[in-house]
């Protein structure tokens, strides 16, 4: 009786996640892979097995162009997030003396995650617009005479918005990684005559590398799949890969081509994830 029950609970514990993965991950991926070999034929598309969609993606320059642009934006967002998040997390962990203040500041970074993504992206429109907050501020301090239109509806606005939205995903892993570094390691480095810079470069930074890798992966992948920012704050040159996929499934009614694009995107993201995973593992074993 109890044996049977244990078996049952074992099946439940393992079985439900497995079923979930099969039903909501493997099956949809399988469907998308299948669609990517089909072929467009008015009014919709028909089953086939051919590589025409993939050939189109790599021969028609519009897709390569958008893919490269998406890579560029995602890298810029990751780098900007890192440059802002690292000093902040470092200060919180090592320099902030008040535990209360530290908790408050940490929460202040996380709290925006509770606010709707759309709302947060929309707010940037009112900040960066021609008659927006930034322009009226610059005008009031006399830096510019005429409101400038260079802040909104371009790639700069997209990087700013995406960085703002995804930066919590950079702060959290770096903060955790830094917090785990034993204080005696930096003390030992100081005892052995290392200056603060050298001890940072040789001790703290390498030990926090897994946090950086995790944060960079998250921000990169999230930006890579974004299609709201181009829509809200991007300009005529702001089309990203997810927008093109949305167009293929909607306006163009070319699900096969959209699926092929989605597969290419998946391959890029999986490559990044496995690279970062390798780096994290290296950091975890090679560090100490």
């Amino acid at each position: 009786m109890s044996h049977a029950r244990r078996n049952l609970s074992g099946v439940m514990v393992l079985g439900i996640p497995l079923l979930w993965i099969a039903l909501f991950m493997l099956l949809p991926y399988g469907i998308i892979v299948t669609f990517s070999f089909w072929v467009k034929k008015y009014p919709t598309f028909v089953p086939a097995f051919q590589f025409g969609n993939y050939v189109t993606l790599f021969t028609d320059p519009q897709y390569v162009l958008v893919l490269l642009r998406t890579l560029k934006i995602s890298v810029l967002v990751s780098v900007a997030s890192l440059l802002l998040a690292y000093p902040f997390a470092y200060w919180l962990v090592f320099r902030c003396r008040s535990a209360k203040l530290r908790t408050w500041l940490y929460m202040a970074v996380i709290a925006p995650l509770w606010v709707s993504y759309l709302l947060r992206a929309y707010v940037w429109k009112t900040i960066l617009g021609t008659e927006g907050v930034l322009n009226s501020f610059l005008k009031s301090i006399g830096l510019i005479d005429e409101p400038s239109s260079i802040f909104l509806y371009n790639q700069f606005a997209m990087v700013v918005t995406l960085t703002y939205i995804f930066i919590p995903f950079m702060v959290m892993p770096i903060y955790t990684a830094l917090e785990k570094i034993p204080a005696n390691l930096t003390e030992a480095a100081a005892d052995l005559g290392m200056g603060p810079w050298r001890s940072f470069w040789t001790v703290t930074l390498p030990l926090s590398a897994p946090g950086i890798a995790a944060g960079a992966t998250l921000t990169f992948c999230l930006s890579f799949g974004d299609f709201i920012a181009p829509f809200l704050v991007g300009g005529p040159d702001g089309n990203l890969i997810a927008n093109v996929i949305a167009t293929q499934f909607g306006a163009a009614l070319n699900w096969p081509l959209g699926s092929a694009l989605a597969i290419v995107m998946l391959v890029v993201v999986l490559t990044i994830v496995s690279l970062s995973d390798r780096m994290e593992r290296k950091g975890a074993t090679g560090g100490i």
Partner: protein, 348 residues
């Protein structure tokens, strides 16, 4: 016991999710904002005993994916005349029994004759509202009013131009190139239009996607000239106190027309026809005209419920205006060439 509660909860869940589709006399309509506005729909619900649930689309591209992902949900849809044929060819809609639509013969003949709503001698769409894809400018930005599509290519307006994010941009650029047969463009003509749009790209502030977005762009002072759905966005801007003027450029304007279509296999046919009759009656025709500012398809109903001023300003008695519009046509298998060219422009 727990199991009973669980089953009960599941049952209740199933009931609530299935209810809208099963309830008798409930019409689920997939349509544009304003076409099922409570200002006139509640009267219909009262009189007919049919309930109306409206889901709104943001573009004509929403109809096919929504209907493709599984049936049985929607009873009626309102695609525009460039998308109606696709609905018929996709086998999503059923032929109309025009004898059951009392005002059918009052609809402008020009609309009834359109290819897009017919197949094999049967009608699939009931013309409802129409208008022009006009152009629009902010009064305070121009000393001499623009009169041509070329004004959207004027380098002096760099960063102040908006264009609809739609394949219709190809129609606009083709007309500027002098290719007036915009629904039958050759590959070379489409390529030329694409080139023209790329020339314009540095001047573009934003390709607008929704009516609200275009209104915001004008309101925030980001753009001063664009194309527009005549009557709609300009009405919203006027309500905000922003002075804009619509114009039909000398290269002409496209016309659009939306039709009600009955989704194949709907179990609510009786309510569907009651609904169609209401939409063509003064209640529906003036209902939508007052909300959206569009012209309507049945001039007889319009005359009965509009003031003479509204009747005139909506061009209801102006066949020459209607004839001057290049009403959208289904592109059939040329559709891909148009959308691909437009996507290529956006990708740059």
């Amino acid at each position: 016991m727990t199991r009973k509660i669980l089953l009960g909860a599941l049952g209740a869940l199933a009931l609530t999710t299935a209810a809208p589709a099963l309830a008798e006399g409930t019409l689920n309509v997939l349509t544009w904002e304003g076409y099922a506005d409570s200002s006139f729909i509640s009267k219909f619900e009262e009189e007919s005993g049919c309930k109306v649930n409206a889901t709104y689309v943001g573009s004509n591209d929403d109809f096919a994916p929504k209907l493709m992902s599984g049936g049985g949900v929607y009873d009626l849809i309102t695609p525009s005349i460039d998308t109606t044929k696709l609905m018929i060819d996709l086998d999503f809609v059923e032929p109309l029994d025009t004898a059951k639509i009392s005002e059918w013969n009052n609809i402008y003949k020009k609309f009834r004759d359109l290819d897009g709503i017919q197949k094999d001698g049967e009608y699939y769409g009931m013309p409802y509202v129409w208008g022009a894809i006009a152009f629009m400018y902010r009064d305070d930005a121009f000393t001499t009013p623009p009169t041509s599509i070329a004004d959207l290519w004027n380098p002096a307006l760099k960063g102040k131009v908006a264009l609809w994010d739609d394949k219709s941009s190809i129609y606009v650029a083709a007309r500027l190139n002098g290719d007036m047969d915009i629904y039958n463009l050759t590959d070379e003509q489409i390529a030329a239009a694409q080139k023209k749009l790329l020339e314009q790209k540095p001047l573009i502030r934003k390709y607008w996607a929704t009516a609200g977005e275009l209104v915001d762009l004008y309101k925030a002072g980001e753009v001063v000239i664009s194309n527009t759905w005549a009557g709609y966005q300009s009405g919203m801007l006027k309500a905000e106190g922003i002075k804009v003027t619509e114009f039909i450029p000398k290269e002409g304007a496209e016309g659009w027309m939306d039709s009600w279509m009955v989704v194949k296999g709907t179990p609510n046919k009786e309510c569907a026809y009651k609904f169609l009759n209401m939409q063509l009656s003064p209640l529906g025709q003036c209902g939508v005209a007052n909300i959206n500012g569009y012209s309507v398809a049945d001039p007889v109903s319009a005359k009965a419920c509009m003031t003479p001023e509204q009747f005139t300003s909506l061009h209801q008695d102006d066949p020459a205006y209607l004839d001057s519009l290049m009403v959208w046509q289904p592109l059939g298998d040329r559709f891909e060439a148009y959308t691909n060219a437009w996507n290529a422009v956006k990708a740059q």
